[in-house]
Symmetry: C2
Subunit: 767 residues, 2 copies
């Protein structure tokens, strides 16, 4: 943990000291992205110390051959991973021939600053070279949110003691690897490297997948803000292109190099058009210039912040934390492209291969749904587009319907642990739930009718083939699963899984009925396309009626799985510091037979469906499961925080919120060097919005149960709800709801119903 | 399956056709070994077709880095495997400069013959070279059972149409690899290659483990049986030494090359002595000559066959099958060296790394115990010598006492699947059972008192720390295990495991009591060494008294594990041909949640302890489990065969016996090319001796329930029992027991007690 590594600031992440041993961590934090592409916060100039370079292109992946000790039938042969691609940020600087390298010489007045409001990374310092040249340098970079194929890098150099011959070498480097390659394979073939009168470019093709990427650059050189004639040289070779621009800079004067970059891929362009388009785009970028490009970029950020900012009063580190989290969420996914999804690390690292997990539907979805439903809709579409692969995946397991992959980029399963790949099937449940959630929140059945119902139908088919009828119990059972708590494997009748399976069948039947009566033509085409039979739906209804759900009568709560109470019932309080994290200190069998819970499992189900139990039972469930939960997943604390708020454990809720709020900024899990935790980021948003504000959507309306953390003075956040822009604010003595647009609305606050409208903000006094 | 590939013969395995597509299979079958070393039946001469060369040295291994997709804490970093070592059988032949290669030219009168009675492999054929040279060739090889560091290869060449210049190139090749190397590593460093006046040698050192091996050779050249002057040339280089001997051979005359080889390792000699010893040994071998060496070798085989032959009358393929199995068992392990154990493939292939599994104690042990108890004692000692590593292994899992590895060469765990490595802990039970079995059968507590009791004590400690008390059941439970049926993983309360754990505790307590009263001094040293406390033994007694054993009251049989009856109860009869083998056609989750059983599990427990149930319950258990068992382990059919005999299902017993009897000779499982199945081999012996003869050891005496398979006329086998050599024979109308030596004896046949002695053979009439 690195608490207080960064200086507190409401809008900025500030690092005042270059600390080589923390460089990978800092690089993760200073990652930039714009949904189309992103990169870690590694230096523009050469750096001979340890660094973890990563430049990524969304949706551009490589099927890395599976590494497995003991092969099981049905394992995928490849793990598709988003791959490190052409480094376009590179910019070498030489002072009188000496290469700038912060691992040499000496550094003064170092300041690296991420401006989250503007999406700008700035780094400035005074450097004294080994041979004694001294200069002040400032680097700036942004990835345009306005035109996501553009990025700009700038560098100012001001000699401090004597005139210096400054040489800038902006370059493109396509000879890159992934650190996590299974067998040391490289992923790119060089296609072309060249130039036109103004630009240089590099073209590469990903092996096996054949994605083409073309990166082009142009440069501007200024002295004291005045453009200098471009007498630069340059050269290209395989996988590499560079320009060399130099000039004599008098002491105290500032030379500036601006590097414009366009990054295109064959995902968005015909391969034959890539070069011309990229060259044109970078030319136009240069013509517009840094300031104008930046202004357009900023405007998009302004809009995003207006949609989704959370303001915390009276706690600047909390403010910084939540803004950082929202900033990274917005950089990672903006709903621009329904072929994309949310990688667990965004553009901040290689871990988990940039693939999509159930995290998207189970955790990230509400953030997008509540701030910009169109983005959420694209997340649903992503799964719809992969329905055929999900059906194929189920067929591989000899099951009916669709089983969505645990880990995927292109819809095919990538993971290869049997207890996860084949058994963590609850992931299907979260996908059904997201369809329901979207439909209920927006009040719009259009998506459901056109796309979602087909997904629901195939998910129901899956469950109907995956259950079996137990003669002993005279009920349907689901054997051999791994629930959300991955510290149990191959268990029978995981409550969460069984409950979601039953709910999916029920919801599907309900929506089929509605479709049948309300949109009969669509119902008919659906039946024709899918071959749905009355026998099938009758079977679903039978399973719905007779699904076994483990329950302990003496505790009067749902049981995580059958046999859970046979375990030696130890609590987290019984653990010693050396036990954490369990998966690094205990053998797997010990973890599996322990009562310890990795992350919300039964409570994840109650989080989705609180109406399944009354408040007393909810509290009993929380009291039972929470003390057994080690939260060794970044997904866990936020769900518990929301649930703690729900049962009135406000201190506990705040304590759990803190585990997500600055997880990466404070390197809470000691692994941010691998990249940031997107789900934890969204988790802190959930903790505030669903937890502290107590926002739920039930009975077809928004309801709030606000509770202000004792350390805060107030907080406010934005909601977008059925065409209305709402601002919710909570203070010690009052709850306020401001409606900026749209028609009048009925909401519930602390169990009472209120009307609000654009002209009549709501103010409820709190005690 | 390749039924009838080999010609039927009571003592020989005969292959009359060189079939390239079956070459790997045939090479496995024609493997030779003498416990110290062994090799597959690949050709002496160069062969440009597909071949799987393997030459192995017992106990010489390499720690191959673990290959695993997702690392779990506690996994071993290495998988120790017996490695392919210097090829010493190599002998190139050139006819007028044309290299003999059976992948070219044409072959006539091919005959390859393994003489099991003599331990000799002979191969002869007529070969016409591409350029038209024709000769008759015969190769012979044996690995001395008398001096296990010696082997002899001979080759006769007889030109058929014209005189031929025959060149022999006997060689040693140390540049060998394993096909199953995880990362393509090579395992040997060349140390030396050289010669003295008569011999050439090669010395290698295994990487990481540093085993040194020295192989030396000398050659004799004869024409028409008359020694020829040795004007041979030779050369050595890194990893390689060869001699070149040539002579003009008139048509119809026979040139013979005899290659004497000595193979020594630093396991048995000081490294500095290897060269001198090997050179001397090969020199002496040559001086003795082929015939004398072979005679000594044969004498050892005569003794082995006298101890352990099984004669089947009226079924020559069955006779061939059982003799082949006994032949391979004797080649694999002879109890000469207590540092060695039984690899699942013997010296016939690389699969399973030549490591030791629970197969040794659970399946192979009775064969050695009943034919030569000293061999069995060395198998027990092997585990005693590894007790410290087994304790270390338990500590790694944070458990007390000792957990023997699932897979090992040197006592350390090699396997890396959590559901096996960490959870298939029943292996400890078979090790305890073998100690009991040895002690009961021999009637001698010396091993138990000196060594075994310490092992039992540590095993009991393990179980006491591995159980937990279930508050729900008010009994002790064992959660998260994999039983012998590996088609279930991470189950709770596997009956077999719980039962063996309870029995181990009970037996340990009983033996500690006996030691305490009968050998108090030894008891005291044991307590001092192990720190055994009264609290421990009291805990063991409590677990013994309150261990949960799953039982189904309506079926009135022990249940394989908790929840087994919740499964969809399908039978093997419900499977389709395309389903076999399940592990290649079904995804793992489907296998796990199916009712199908890979191999004897509950029945394995009843095999060990038939007295736990009455005969009706035994039959009910058999009737329930057998139709659910797919026997996808070579360990399975034999146990079921014995149990079928026990419950009186004689036809079924014979049918199951057939699945083991010629499993490799008929390539029943389509995988003999990887090597032979040692446990299946011993399984056919068990099926005959414990099954058809119904031999059991109970109430401190031998008992028999003979039943002759309907297709046989009779069978007989040898037993060694408490200093007596016994011959058991079963015919349709009579059971006979002949005592060759030792004092008088009481035995039980079909429930009646009889006295026999050296002078009074027993004859019981059967109806």
């Amino acid at each position: 943990m690195l608490q207080n590594y960064f200086e507190a600031h409401p809008w900025k992440i500030i690092d005042r000291h270059h600390q080589p041993k923390h460089k990978r961590f800092v690089e993760s934090i200073f990652s930039l992205g714009n949904e189309h592409m992103g990169l870690r916060g590694f230096f523009e100039e050469d750096y001979s110390g340890d660094s973890f370079q990563g430049t990524y292109l969304a949706g551009v992946y490589y099927p890395d051959p599976t590494k497995v000790g003991w092969w099981k039938n049905g394992y995928p042969e490849f793990f598709a991973k988003v791959i490190n691609s052409t480094n376009w940020v590179g910019l070498r600087v030489r002072l009188d021939g000496e290469a700038l390298d912060l691992a040499s010489g000496s550094i003064g007045d170092y300041l690296c600053e991420l401006d989250m409001q503007q999406g700008l990374l700035t780094r400035s310092f005074t450097w004294t070279s080994p041979r004694g040249r001294q200069a002040r340098l400032t680097f700036r970079r942004f990835l345009s949110m306005d035109d996501v194929e553009l990025a700009v890098v700038a560098c100012d150099v001001t000699p401090l003691q004597q005139a210096v011959q400054v040489e800038f070498v902006p370059y493109l480097d396509g000879d890159v690897k992934n650190e996590d390659s299974n067998y040391g394979q490289t992923f790119w073939d060089a296609v072309d490297a060249g130039r036109d009168s103004q630009s240089q470019f590099l073209q590469s093709r990903s092996r096996k997948t054949g994605f083409e990427t073309l990166t082009a650059m142009q440069s501007q050189l200024l002295l004291q803000g005045v453009a200098q004639p471009l007498t630069h040289e340059g050269s290209e070779r395989l996988h590499y292109a560079e320009a060399r621009l130099s000039l004599e800079v008098p002491v105290g004067q500032t030379a500036t190099l601006i590097k414009y970059v366009s990054v295109l891929t064959s995902r968005d362009h015909e391969p034959g058009q890539l070069k011309a388009t990229a060259l044109k785009k970078v030319q136009q970028a240069k013509e517009q210039g840094y300031e104008r490009l930046f202004l357009k970029h900023r405007k998009v950020w302004d809009k995003k912040w207006a949609e989704a900012d959370v303001v915390i009063e009276g706690d600047v580190t909390a403010q910084q934390g939540i803004r950082y989290n929202i900033f990274q969420l917005q950089q990672t996914y903006g709903g621009r492209d329904a072929r994309l999804n949310i990688g667990p690390k965004g553009f901040t690292g290689e871990k988990y291969g940039g693939c999509t997990y159930w995290d998207t539907e189970a955790f990230c979805f509400p953030f997008y749904l509540y701030t910009n439903k169109d983005v959420a809709r694209n997340l649903l579409l992503y799964r719809y587009q992969h329905l055929e692969q999900a059906k194929e995946n189920a067929r591989k397991l000899h099951l009916d319907g669709a089983l969505y992959p645990m880990v995927t980029i292109d819809g095919r399963e990538c993971h290869n642990e049997w207890e996860i790949t084949f058994e963590e099937i609850h992931r299907n449940g979260a996908i059904a739930y997201a369809i329901y959630h979207y439909t209920a929140y927006t009040g719009d059945t259009a998506y459901l009718d056109q796309y979602g119902i087909e997904v629901l139908l195939e998910l129901s088919r899956f469950w109907a083939s995956r259950v079996n009828f137990s003669n002993v119990k005279q009920q349907y059972v689901i054997l051999g699963v791994t629930g959300p708590n991955e510290y149990e494997n191959n268990v029978n009748n995981n409550w969460y899984t069984n409950m979601l399976a039953r709910w999916t069948l029920a919801y599907t039947l309900e929506q089929l009925d509605r479709l049948h009566s309300q949109v009969p033509a669509r119902y008919q085409t659906l039946v024709q396309k899918t071959g749905l039979t009355p026998e099938e739906t009758a079977k679903w209804a039978d399973i719905r009626a007779r699904m076994f759900l483990p329950y302990d009568a003496s505790l009067a709560i749902p049981m995580q799985q059958e046999g859970y109470l046979d375990k030696d019932q130890k609590l987290v309080a019984d653990l010693k510091p050396g036990d954490y994290p369990l998966h690094k200190n205990w053998s797997w069998d010990r973890i599996l037979r322990s009562s310890y819970i990795k992350q919300a499992d039964t409570l994840q189900g109650l989080y989705f469906f609180p109406e399944l139990v009354d408040k007393d039972e909810m509290r009993r469930a929380f009291d039972f499961y929470e003390p057994r939960t080690v939260h060794e997943s970044s997904l866990s604390p936020s769900i518990y925080a929301v649930m703690a708020s729900m049962v009135g454990y406000h201190e506990k809720a705040y304590e759990l919120y803190l585990r997500t709020a600055r997880l990466d900024l404070d390197n809470y899990n000691h692994d941010t060097e691998d990249g940031c935790h997107i789900t934890s980021m969204v988790g802190s948003w959930l903790s505030i919005v669903q937890g502290f504000a107590g926002l739920r959507f039930e009975h077809d309306r928004l309801s709030f149960r606000p509770n202000l953390p004792i350390r805060w003075q107030g907080f406010r956040f934005q909601l977008s709800y059925r065409g209305r822009a709402l601002e919710v604010s909570v203070h010690r003595d009052r709850f306020e709801l401001l409606q900026r647009s749209g028609s009048a609305l009925e909401v519930e606050v602390l169990g009472r119903t209120y009307q609000i409208s654009e002209h009549a903000p709501l103010r409820v006094t709190l005690h």
